[in-house]
């Protein structure tokens, strides 16, 4: 038994209808037995499909892709800084000037701003994790490969901070490796980047995000999150105790 309105009902169930259209579909669904049955079956099918059958790219493919991109990158010599500087016009010159600026270590204020921005940007875009894994055996090598930095990565699930994955981000123009932790509904980002001799900012709260900076070995670290003060301190203690 199929109702003539079944395609509209399906669009409604898939969240494709808005406003008056959605209202009309909803009213129809209240009285049409065929569409109600369709709704129930579609929901069951969605649940089943979503739970069971999504593949993820194997690590071997990730490695192969990195090698492929390396070859692509090597094939075409990239126009250098001096090419841009010598051409002297427009955006290229601007970019060259910017690149020069980036060679200087950032100020403490820039760092604080940059780390909070990166955290907030990741949260707003929903792209907080590029490699999802609760295993440091997966996250650490991925970060080493993609960020060129290999900070210690540990799961603190026993203490309430579950390792969720990692991503590559940018802090004040430099590449940073980020380990991502979940604490209840909150996310804690642990940034690591190569120490360029920059002075580190004092602990701060910016736009509701706490941040804390420290140095260890030849790397700078920053923890950023909107968890409460007690949880944040607990996380920092754990993160600072990490060893290779």
């Amino acid at each position: 038994m199929t109702c003539q309105e079944s395609l509209r009902t399906q669009s409604y169930l898939d969240g494709e209808l808005q406003g008056a259209e959605a209202g009309a579909a909803e009213r129809h669904l209240e009285t049409c037995a065929a569409c109600q049955s369709l709704a129930a079956q579609t929901a069951d099918l969605s649940d089943a499909l979503r739970k069971t059958v999504r593949y993820r790219a194997p690590d071997s493919l990730r490695a192969r892709l990195t090698a492929g991109l390396d070859r692509e990158t090597a094939r075409k010599p990239v126009r250098t800084f001096w090419y841009g500087a010598a051409s002297g016009t427009g955006l290229t010159a601007l970019a060259a000037g910017f690149a020069l600026f980036l060679l200087l270590p950032p100020s403490a204020a820039t760092l604080a701003q940059s780390v909070t921005d990166a955290h907030a940007r990741a949260l707003t875009s929903g792209k907080t994790i590029m490699v999802a894994s609760s295993s440091h055996h997966t996250v650490k090598p991925w970060l080493a490969e993609h960020a060129g930095i290999s900070p210690p990565v540990n799961d603190f699930a026993a203490a309430g901070f579950v390792l969720a994955g990692g991503r590559v981000d940018e802090v004040a123009g430099a590449r940073a490796a980020v380990s991502v932790y979940r604490h209840g509904n909150h996310q804690v980002d642990l940034f690591a980047w190569i120490d360029r001799g920059a002075p580190l900012p004092a602990p701060a709260i910016n736009r509701g995000f706490r941040s804390r900076f420290w140095k260890s070995g030849d790397m700078d670290f920053a923890a950023v999150s909107d968890v409460d003060a007690v949880a944040f301190e607990k996380f920092i203690a754990l993160a600072q105790q990490q060893r290779e």
Binding site: Q10, T42, V53, G68, L69, V78
Partner: protein
């Protein structure tokens, strides 16, 4: 690593699993899926200067689908290998996993056996959560066709999977 590569990786790599999932379901073979995704990602990288922001996921998946189609009929005729479970994203809820193993195998087989035009819309909608408009873009079909294929795909799976849903 140069800036272009870094920007590309930041845009494209978050969608590598989606790319692989689509390639895997289209080709129904792990080896072919690897080749298709590798090819697609390198093509995307070469074309990256033409990508002006917007929906990176739909962009990548469009290229994956094109690579699959241009990979030719040889692959398609090869027949599919039974789907392994090792690459499936682990269920967040371990209590349900024993019960689900049987259901999962049946559903795998059902979806894998769907005709290609139904299989792809079902994967894009149910696994990748894409909108009709994005699916229409990726598959190069009108939205109305996406809707009717999706309805048909769901009906086929519902009908054949009655006992395991």
């Amino acid at each position: 690593m140069d800036d272009r590569r870094r920007r590309f990786e930041a845009q494209a790599l978050p969608h590598l699993d989606a790319a692989y999932n689509l390639a895997r379901w289209l080709s129904r073979s792990p080896a072919d899926a690897d080749d298709i995704v590798q090819d697609a990602m390198l093509r995307a990288f070469r074309a990256f200067d033409g990508f002006r922001g917007g929906d990176a996921k739909a962009w990548i998946l469009t290229i994956v689908r094109n690579c699959w189609r241009s990979a030719g009929t040889a692959q398609k005729r090869r027949g599919h290998i039974s789907l392994e479970e090792q690459n499936l994203i682990a269920d967040d809820n371990p209590e349900g996993s024993a019960i689900q193993a049987g259901t999962r195998r049946k559903l795998d087989a059902l979806v894998a056996d769907l005709p290609e035009e139904f299989r792809e819309v079902l994967i894009l909608r149910e696994m990748e959560d894409l909108s009709y408009r994005e699916i229409a873009e990726i598959t190069g079909t009108p939205i109305g066709t996406v809707m009717s294929r999706l309805a048909r795909a769901r009906a086929i799976v519902r009908e054949t999977a009655k006992d395991c849903l």
